[in-house]
């Protein structure tokens, strides 16, 4: 049963949304790093077949670290939905994750997040908020 939002301390709501955003960002970054270390899956599939591509992904430890964080993000979302309204949790976590991923992509994956990508991240972030609200 969902507890009325007014009875939740605002910092508790912030902590729940922060947990989703942090776990999701860690999961996305680790999965992206795993796939970069594996290499182009289309080329691997052309060379070693579908089984070879699956084996290449499943033998990468970073992939499992990424999936573990994505699972944590999913359970954090379920926990938050048990206490907060969907109309708050979904847009807030989805749009904030886009910005934190851009920051994490620049810092940890050394991606070239230029002005074009920053603008895109902010536009999509506001757009997702409007669309889901």
């Amino acid at each position: 049963m969902t507890i009325p939002y007014s009875s939740i301390h605002p910092w508790s709501a912030v902590a729940m949304i922060a947990a989703i955003v942090l776990c999701s960002t860690a999961g996305e970054v680790l999965t992206a790093a795993a796939m970069k270390s594996v290499g182009d899956l289309d080329e691997i599939r052309a060379r070693s077949g579908f089984t070879g591509a699956v084996r290449a992904v499943l033998t990468c430890p970073l992939f499992f670290a990424g999936v573990s964080f994505l699972a944590l993000a999913f359970f954090s979302l379920l926990f938050a939905l048990n206490h907060l309204n969907l109309s708050l949790v979904a847009p807030a976590s989805a749009s904030l994750t886009l910005v934190t991923n851009a920051v994490a992509g620049k810092i940890f994956l050394k991606e070239n997040v230029d002005r074009r990508r920053w603008t895109a991240a902010v536009l999509v972030c506001i757009g997702v908020y409007f669309l889901a609200h």
Binding site: E28, V29, T31, A32, M35, K36, V38, G39, D40, L41, D42, V57, A94, L98, N101, A102, G105, K106, L109, K110, E111, N112, V113, D114, R116, R117, T119, A120, A121, V122, L123, V124, I126, G127, V128, Y129, F130, L131, A132, H133
Partner: protein, 151 residues
């Protein structure tokens, strides 16, 4: 790994799958779960049985398709390039709901659709992958030249 300045048609197809499979899969799960009676924590076996209902099974297949295409996209494109494509799926679903199911879309949602489309357009016009090896290749001859000068 080579950088792809321009994506190939099959790579655009993968991005389209990423954009479409996630929201369609979520919609199928939502439709399947809402048509079931309320499930309590005391009866977890009901959740297992729910997997085999048509809408939820279709949703799971679509989400597996999303994850496979998402992993493929991440193997040749940057995370900051792929993620806006994921968000573009919400736009496609909203437009399908409006023109196909005749659902009303508020001004805020139209604003969201325009902003996401603009954002995806910004990213799609740029390179899909950060060009790291090119820097290393340029740095290597320069380092060799320095060593030769020292000799």
């Amino acid at each position: 790994m080579m950088a792809h300045a321009r994506l190939l048609p099959r790579q655009y197809m993968i991005l389209l799958l990423v954009a479409l499979c996630a929201p369609l899969g979520d919609s199928c799960l939502s439709r399947g779960m809402s048509s079931l009676p309320a499930i309590s924590i005391g009866h977890p076996a009901t959740l297992i049985a729910a997997i085999f209902t048509p809408w939820i099974a279709l949703g799971i297949v679509l989400l597996i398709g999303f994850f496979a295409s998402y992993l493929t996209a991440l193997s040749w494109a940057d995370l900051t390039f792929v993620l806006p494509a994921t968000a573009f799926g919400n736009v496609i679903v909203a437009l399908l709901a409006h023109f196909w199911l005749h659902e009303p879309i508020s001004i805020e949602r139209w604003a969201g659709i325009v902003l996401i489309t603009l954002g995806v357009g910004f990213v799609a016009n740029g390179p899909s992958l950060t060009e790291r090896p090119a820097i290393d290749l340029q740095a290597q001859p320069a380092a060799q030249l320095d060593q030769e000068q020292v000799r």
